[in-house]
Symmetry: C2
Subunit: 333 residues, 2 copies
């Protein structure tokens, strides 16, 4: 039994309890060095008995590696990010890393603080989904291996998806369904990946139809007045929405304002967040390959951490269309 009130036993305590040297204790715990089989067993047993736990910080301090990585995300309340976080956590676990998840609340200042903090805690690497395509980190990050997600930051290895292709596919789908007057609701336009998908969409609309409107909205289900107005005007029979969260807001708005989806208004979103599949109607959308992003990111990071600098590749993943029920032929064709 362990006394609940004593301090956590140290390696020294363990060595003493097992009457071996400090080194032997360490070897036994880590499975390193060369140690008599019985000694090792004995130490391990005693460790169990006295409830010994390695102090990972001390270990990290000595070895210079923490086996921890930081995941810096802009906003956990956007359902896109928890999914990503989950994938990263699981993949990292497979590689033997723990993950610090942080939410920068969309603030560049917090983002900087967070990054600083993580570096200060000596994470072995960083997976960073910046708020914008702006390097708020500067030299803060130092030499910490870093993979940037979705945004495009010079000097970093970036993992992205083919946003333009996604936007184009979305519009093609709408066109194929017979829509001609198509609107665009973009997310924040200071984000390159957002501009890309919307520009590609606009181009495609320009080619074969008519751009009814192009407005933008924050990453939120709450619609800004201009957006609500654009929808209410019924200038378009269909909209391409740059992010599913916003699309869900539009879906809700349309329905509470007497517009039937998809009959009066077809919608295609972008991201394929989990509940896109459970709205009514379920949302047709462009999939962001999250699991792949996560595993590519962790893998790339692991490579670098293990000293494989691996030329700063830029990885671009595919963005398939997921066809569900929010698109139909326009009523008045």
């Amino acid at each position: 039994m362990t006394d609940t009130h004593s301090k956590r036993p140290t390696l020294k305590d363990l060595a003493k309890a097992a009457s071996v040297s400090l080194a032997s204790a360490s070897y036994a715990i880590n499975g390193t060095g060369s140690l008599g089989e019985q000694t090792r067993q004995h130490v391990l047993r005693v460790a169990e008995d006295i409830g010994y736990r390695q102090n990972l910080n001390a270990r990290a301090m000595r070895t210079g590696r923490t086996r921890a990585i930081g995941l810096v995300l802009p906003d956990l309340s956007n359902p896109f990010f928890p999914s990503l976080a989950q994938s990263v956590i699981q993949t990292a676990r497979r590689w033997g890393f723990s993950v610090y998840v942080t939410d920068t609340e969309g603030s560049e200042e917090l983002e900087r603080d967070t990054l600083k903090e993580l570096v200060g805690r000596n994470v072995d690497g960083l997976i960073w989904f910046p708020i914008r395509d702006v390097d708020t980190a500067g030299p803060l990050i130092g030499n910490v291996p870093t993979i940037v997600l979705d945004r495009s930051l010079p000097g970093f290895e970036c993992i992205q998806a083919d946003y333009a292709l996604g936007g184009q596919r979305a519009v093609e789908h709408l066109l194929a369904a017979g829509h001609r007057r198509i609107g665009i609701v973009s997310g924040p336009t200071d984000i390159a990946s957002m501009r890309q998908r919307c520009e590609a969409a606009a181009a495609q609309i320009g080619r074969h139809g008519e751009l009814a409107f192009q407005v933008s909205n924050a990453f939120s289900t709450d619609l800004e007045p201009a957006v609500a107005a654009a929808i209410d005007n019924r200038a378009a029979t269909a909209v391409f929405v740059g992010a599913d969260v916003i699309a869900m807001g539009i879906l809700g708005h349309a329905q509470t304002h007497g517009l039937k989806v998809p009959d009066d208004l077809s919608i295609v979103g972008f991201d394929d967040i989990p509940w896109a599949n459970f709205s009514s109607p379920p949302l047709t959308t462009i999939e962001m390959p999250l699991e792949q992003m996560a595993s590519e990111a962790v893998e790339a990071l692991a490579q670098r951490i293990d000293g494989n600098p691996r030329a700063s590749r830029r990885i671009i993943l595919d963005t398939p269309l997921i066809s569900r029920r929010s698109v139909a032929r326009p009523a008045a064709a």
Copy 2:
């Protein structure tokens, strides 16, 4: 300018660069000790110049406090948890703590590993949402101050909500709308908080109506056959569902199977996850006061960490009904 390729400067480097002693450098950085104002300024300036960052691990090792807490959650893909995580992260930040978030993937083994890992990294405290009402941690946790969320674990300070009252309120609401034949779809029944809400609901139904069925489902939008069957049978005009995620699954199922909600089937859920407000119809549900849970938890933890043992209180928060559109009078009254 900092050489991108050199190691991170240490306090020693800083001291040397500023030509002061190690202690003075430390004092300047931490604002402790007594130091000439100019010395301090000078050191700080030099620190900036050479890009010095504290090594928080080393500091933690020395002081015995990491200013980090661990948040152990069962499943980030249930939208309930990211919201909770976000609140915890933000509150913790206000108290000067960083948060390690982990997802135990519903596995008790991973839960144990995770807890071990966190303790090994010397977190100052733990906020733990156990998978079940089972203490998988045992003595692993040692003396690390821990707050348990939602579940009820002997010996821990637990923060819970009034589940029974919530279940009762849900049914009262259904009753008031004129329903008599009411079904219950519970979440996993090995969870006390789940049993409480459903038992209270059942009791209330028993008192003034008729329990049409009582089945259970995993925390998922995917319905188990028994649950789908119960819904399809139309044995009930209304259901109380123990968790919103499941409720969303039922909503989707009902609608794709020709049942109109709320006309053919009224639904009230539990949790008030973010998208409950954006389904169509928006889901009437019982609110879990997440922000409050989070801030109570962090606060309680901070207290203990700062050495205020504060008798192991059990905090019970209120569970108000949020009335939206998924409840109507039954068609055939």
